[in-house]
């Protein structure tokens, strides 16, 4: 152990501990800006770039960045001497001098770490005025880059390059003109960006935000010629409460439904219903491939990969196009919902699909992009018109003067409001595959499954593997969340290092609960764990916990689809993938 003194307090720490961590451990909060530690995922960003966390170390010539300086025996540290306070304030004033002053209209206002820090530090003037760096705005279907607001913290780079291994964002240019941008300064939309939104999640300022669809939604809700229906994803109900000051992990399903109704949606539906539908199709596909495989069919491709996550889909289209016939062809729940809504439901209520607006509430920003994919539209009319993130919904509820906390619990509308526990756990890593196992087990073994909790599939480890006993047949399941982990797992599969029957992949760390559209966690990964717990809690509370038991699903097949993998199903609920390797456009 190493003993040192910080602000006259003695502290003992393990070798390798930084001054920042040591100070945190004894309740001394050194201001920080570029530093980020997502401890549960072993993700740390400490480039030592912002220089806000500088402290005075006795005997050292210059000030030391607390985030990157390791403690040494006998060190004497002062975190708020006049020298430190002046330096820190000057550095902050410099950063602010190169930042647009549009806080009043900035999407990040109120959630901006730079703004909060400036307030905490009591900065009331910016004496060092001068030229501000400017860069063109870049808008994609999901993410807006306002690089003028970038403070070069490099967190997005860590997420994009190290965590997700997408490798789109990195620092370019030098000195005052340095910015974070895709290679050759191409637009995000032309790059290999998967729109996972993890960069948005960690950006301390408004440099990276999601495309805002709330104004379009307000207009559509006010348009009497349109029928506006909404679907809401499982992970939303486990996080929305945070935006209203509720404890992380509080389930707000009932309040969410009431809020959506008050906003004026004509029908409030649940994406969970579509998740059950996904399991019906994907489960049937698994069973089909598995049976063929066991019967010695050499053409069958295993493992089957899940396909619910649009960022993951775009990832393999760019990075592993050779694998494009391995993933399940089942569309994501969002798109299954859209396609059924604009066919079966539109017909049922006698509304032309052009006058039916399908909106989704998603924990995700990649879903915005998914809505725009051409194959998910009919004659130019998209199956899902647009997607709104959890954060945008929270903002909209506040704008509509709704007292969210005081709302009574409401119920979803039918026919797409009923769902099972299996669909709820779609919101977390391991959930989709567990839901699939619950259904395929019964389909394959023709036996009733008593114990539906497959604990071996759960957890927060980035890559997991588990075995599930299908009445004597041992099924190997792989799970990865975070695209970097997905890459690792896929490479192992390609190299033949491991043999799986099925693999679940979610692009975001933690799965959809940690999606790019969720309320900001500001580095507190315990919030994700609380959300995960809430999702499993909702599962337990459900009467029905297997997708194929959902009565409205059964009725949908009876009335409309026939059976899973039927021709109608293929047309409406399945899709195909593209080789996007050569699609990169350099302007």
């Amino acid at each position: 152990m190493i003993k040192l003194i910080i602000d006259k307090k003695t502290v003992e720490v393990k070798p390798g501990t930084t001054i920042l961590q040591a100070a945190d451990s004894i309740g001394i909060h050194i201001p920080r800006l570029c530093y980020m530690n997502l401890s549960d995922f072993n993700i740390e960003n400490k480039p030592g770039g912002c220089r806000v966390c500088v402290v005075e170390v006795e005997g050292r010539r210059n000030l030391a960045p607390a985030c990157a300086t390791e403690c040494a025996e006998g060190m004497v540290v002062n975190t708020h001497s006049i020298r430190v306070l002046n330096a820190r304030k000057t550095v902050m004033q410099l950063i602010l001098s190169d930042h647009p002053f549009d806080c009043l209209v900035c999407a990040k206002s109120g959630n901006c770490e730079l703004q909060e820090l400036a307030q905490t530090m009591g900065i009331r003037d910016i004496p060092y005025q001068g030229e501000q760096s400017t860069y063109r705005e870049d808008t994609s279907p999901s993410i807006i880059r306002e690089v003028d607001k970038c403070i070069m913290c490099r967190r997005c780079e860590v997420m994009c390059n190290e965590v997700q291994t997408v490798g789109v964002l990195s620092a370019i240019n030098r000195g005052f003109t340095s910015v974070v941008a895709p290679a050759f300064e191409m637009n995000l939309d032309h790059s290999e960006c998967t729109f996972c939104g993890q960069c948005v999640n960690v950006c301390p300022t408004g440099a990276l935000t999601e495309v805002d669809h709330t104004n379009q939604l307000i207009n559509d809700l006010a348009d009497s010629s349109k029928t506006v229906i909404v679907q809401t994803a499982p992970a939303v109900r486990a996080a929305l409460g945070e935006a209203f000051g509720m404890k992380p992990g509080t389930l707000v399903t009932g309040k969410l439904v009431s809020a959506l109704r008050e906003l004026g949606f004509d029908y409030v539906f649940d994406t969970d219903f579509a998740a059950d539908l996904t399991i019906m199709e994907e489960g049937a596909e698994v069973l089909d491939r598995l049976t063929k495989f066991l019967n010695g069919d050499k053409n069958v491709k295993l493992p089957i990969l899940t396909s619910c996550c649009p960022a993951w889909v775009k990832f393999f289209e760019h990075q592993f196009p050779q694998l494009k016939d391995i993933p399940s062809t089942a569309r994501s729940p969002q798109q299954m919902f859209g396609s059924i809504a604009k066919s079966y439901f539109a017909e049922k209520i006698g509304v032309d699909r052009k006058n039916l607006v399908v909106v989704s509430i998603m924990p995700c920003v990649a879903k915005k992009y998914e809505c725009t994919r051409e194959e998910f539209s009919v004659d130019g009319n998209p199956d899902v018109d647009y997607s709104v993130s959890t954060r945008e919904l929270a903002n909209l509820i506040k704008r509509a003067n709704i007292d969210f906390i005081a709302l009574p619990d409401g119920d979803f509308d039918n026919p797409f409001g009923e769902s099972t526990g299996a669909s709820v756990i779609f919101g977390t890593t391991g959930g989709v595959i567990e839901a699939a196992v619950r259904t395929t087990y019964e389909l394959y073994t023709k036996k009733h499954l008593d114990k539906v909790d497959f604990k071996q599939l759960r957890g927060m480890e980035g890559i997991r593997s588990a075995k599930v006993d299908f009445n004597g047949l041992e099924l190997n399941i792989g799970i990865a969340h975070g695209l970097g982990n997905a890459r690792k797992l896929l490479e192992e599969v390609i190299e033949g290092k491991c043999a799986y029957h099925a693999i679940e992949i979610m692009a975001c760390p933690g799965g959809c609960i940690g999606g790019g559209g969720q309320p900001y966690i500001h580095g507190d990964t315990s919030i994700l764990k609380a959300r995960q717990k809430a999702v499993y809690e909702e599962d337990v509370n459900k009467t029905l916990r297997k997708s194929h038991e959902n009565p409205y699903i059964i009725r949908l097949y009876e009335e409309f689809l026939g059976k899973p993998l039927s021709e109608k199903s293929h047309n409406l609920l399945h899709t195909h993938y593209f080789d996007r390797k050569k699609e990169i456009i350099i302007e």
Binding site: P47, G48, G49, C50, R51, V54, N62, L63, P65, A68, T69, E70, R83, N86, A87, T90, V91, L94, I95, S97, D98, P127, Y128, G130, E131, I151, M152, S170, A171, N173, R174, G175, F176, T177, S178
Partner: protein
């Protein structure tokens, strides 16, 4: 029987002299020797830099040390017919001592060389850098043979430690200690890296060594490899140094051919080979962590130390990074011993230092002086004093990261510590001399312009702070500064030094602080009196006609590019201040001293 070569004509073929046709000159000399049937008696040798770049191209005759300056290709005939054939020096091509106005017969009597001791540059201007045999004839690779066959890695490090050689790249870290730390780092693979990313504006010490004596660097790197336990060397060199790259490639090939690089050197089982890595010319890549990232194909920006490269460097392996000039000192230390080396220099700074002398000085060029030489000796003896008899004002050492020293510092001995104590630094060896016509605010602004451009952008004080320093200096030179600007300038400079991540940011404000400390009155004059005494800041000066002197010749009006001078012939003229662009054309052209700067 072939006659013996009695005379060598050494022609400088460094980048500077080549730009003045020295390659053509070399061919002309060879042609003349042939025409006169002298090719068996005299030989033309293309060498690296002699250092006296002010008067290039240089031809030095060996063995009599005759030193011809500003030689043109058409002078070849006379040199051969007179000097080689008849043994008579070509007087008109000899260097003229500006003080006594007499021709100097040989280099030994030139003020420029008298106080120099050439260790790192010992072969520059003497041998043909493209011929390994010439290097071998000057004890080349003897030190490598010695360490491999007679010494252990530890005793090799010991010699370097005892010599007290310090890094010549700027910071002056003890070289032997660096080697020792790298040796002690346990790893299956280690690297020796030569930092040839010379970036100071106007400095060309490393380039000249690589162009004039590439083998010395290769030999030293192999010695270092043996000492630290590395079998791979990499030279990080900027792509803007094509001649140095060309000569390094030749040298590496020749050394491999001779078995001095590659496998099993001197039959000892020790392997060592060297490759080149090209830099794109970013100043910050001279910082060792940034250099390593650049070699790895990453963005060239520094990272926090520790881990030091000696522990975790190139590709995560222990890496010893030394500068070109540091390496150039190594073989001779091994050959002559640490005690010999320690006789040169001062208590804390041993050996010599190479400087690129530039600015308002008579003898612009490359010099190597023993540590402890005073600035006065360098500027007034070696440098031959200030150009055009002007008054000395300041000298900037340490490149853009250094500081401006003044009259009162002239007798300071040049050492690492004394320069830092005076508010400047050794740096890699840039030395820029300024005279009374230089405005110190503009000088600070010039250097800041460079650092703003060269900052990597990683840390905020350097990225934004230096930009703001530049902008404040700019307002001062435009007459828009106030005393408050000066206060802000001082505070910001201190904070940037105190908080920046790497050496670039930590030293970038030095030109500002040193000029504020040494030329405070000049700053005050700019902000309070709105005057620039040196008449450099255009916004602070006006050209006006002195009516008493003006004869109305109209020359000024005819030469004014913006037609802002009005006046009839034989009438007093007047300059329209609102239109004047302060180009100074009228001032230059007026024969009657009728225009003054106020």
């Amino acid at each position: 029987m072939a006659k013996q070569i009695k005379m060598h004509l050494l022609v400088c073929c460094g980048t500077g002299c080549r730009a003045s046709q020295s390659a053509t000159l070399q061919k002309a000399l060879e042609r003349e020797l042939k025409t006169n049937g002298l090719e068996d008696e005299a030989k033309v040798v293309t060498t690296g830099c002699f250092g006296f770049c002010e008067k290039g191209p240089i031809v030095k005759v060996h063995p009599d040390n005759t030193f011809y300056v500003e030689v043109k290709p058409e002078d070849a005939e006379e040199i051969v017919k007179e000097h080689v054939l008849k043994g008579r020096k070509v007087e008109r091509l000899l260097y003229t001592d500006p003080k006594v106005k007499e021709h100097v017969p040989d280099s030994k009597h030139m003020g420029f060389y008298r106080k120099q001791i050439r260790i790192a540059l010992r072969n520059c201007g003497l041998i043909d850098p493209e011929n390994i045999d010439e290097y071998l004839a000057r004890d080349g690779y003897q030190a490598l043979g010695k360490v491999i066959t007679e010494m252990t890695p530890e005793s090799t490090i010991d010699v370097i430690k005892k010599s007290e050689l310090r890094g010549r790249g700027g910071a002056g870290f003890p070289t032997g200690l660096k080697w020792e730390i790298t040796r002690k780092s346990k790893s299956d693979q280690k690297y020796v890296v030569c930092n040839a990313d010379e970036g100071d504006p106007g400095a060309f010490m490393d380039r000249s060594i690589l162009e004039g004596d590439p083998h010395v660097v290769l030999e030293a790197m192999a010695i270092c490899g043996y000492a630290i336990g590395a079998d791979k060397g990499l030279i990080y060199i900027r792509a803007e140094y094509p001649l140095a790259i060309h000569r390094l490639k030749i040298a590496i090939e020749q050394a491999r051919e001779y078995g001095l690089l590659g496998k099993n050197l001197f039959n000892s089982g020790f392997n060592f080979d060297i490759d080149l890595r090209y830099g794109a010319g970013a100043f910050v890549c001279g910082e060792e962590t940034a250099l390593i990232h650049s070699m790895e194909g990453e963005r060239g920006e520094p990272t926090f130390k520790p881990p030091f490269p000696s522990v975790e460097g190139y590709l995560g392996k222990p890496t010893n990074v030394n500068n070109v000039e540091t390496f150039a000192n190594v073989p001779i230390i091994i050959n002559k011993g640490a005690d010999w080396f320690k006789t040169i220099g001062t208590e804390k700074s041993k050996g010599t230092k190479v400087f690129a002398l530039a600015g308002k000085i008579n003898n612009v060029g490359l010099i190597e002086i023993p540590m402890g030489t005073t600035l006065r000796e360098v500027i007034f003896e070696i440098g031959g004093g200030i150009k055009d008899g002007k008054k000395f004002k300041a000298v900037q050492t340490g490149g853009p990261s250094g500081g401006c020293l003044t009259e009162k510092h002239l007798d300071l001995p040049i050492e690492y510590e004394t320069l830092v104590a005076a508010g400047s630094m050794m740096g890699s060896g840039g030395m820029i001399v300024m005279d009374e016509d230089d405005c110190m605010v503009s000088v600070a602004k010039f250097f800041l312009d460079f650092t703003v451009e060269e900052s990597c952008g990683k840390c905020s004080p350097c990225r934004i702070g230096n930009k703001r320093l530049y902008e404040m200096l700019d307002t001062i030179t435009k007459g828009e500064g106030t005393m408050e600007t000066l206060d802000k300038l001082k505070n910001l400079s201190k904070v940037i030094k105190d908080t920046s991540l790497c050496g670039l940011g930590q030293t970038a404000p030095n030109p500002v602080l040193s000029t504020i400390n040494n030329f405070w009155d000049e700053y005050v004059e700019h902000v309070v009196d709105k005057k620039c005494k040196a008449s450099v800041c255009k916004s602070l000066m006006r050209y006006v006609v002195i009516p008493e002197n003006c004869v109305g010749c109209t020359v000024c009006a005819r030469n004014c590019p913006v037609n802002c001078i009005k006046g009839e012939r034989k009438q007093v003229h007047e300059i329209d201040q609102t239109a004047c662009i302060k180009c100074g054309a009228c001032y230059e052209k007026c024969k009657f001293n009728a225009i003054e700067i106020v």
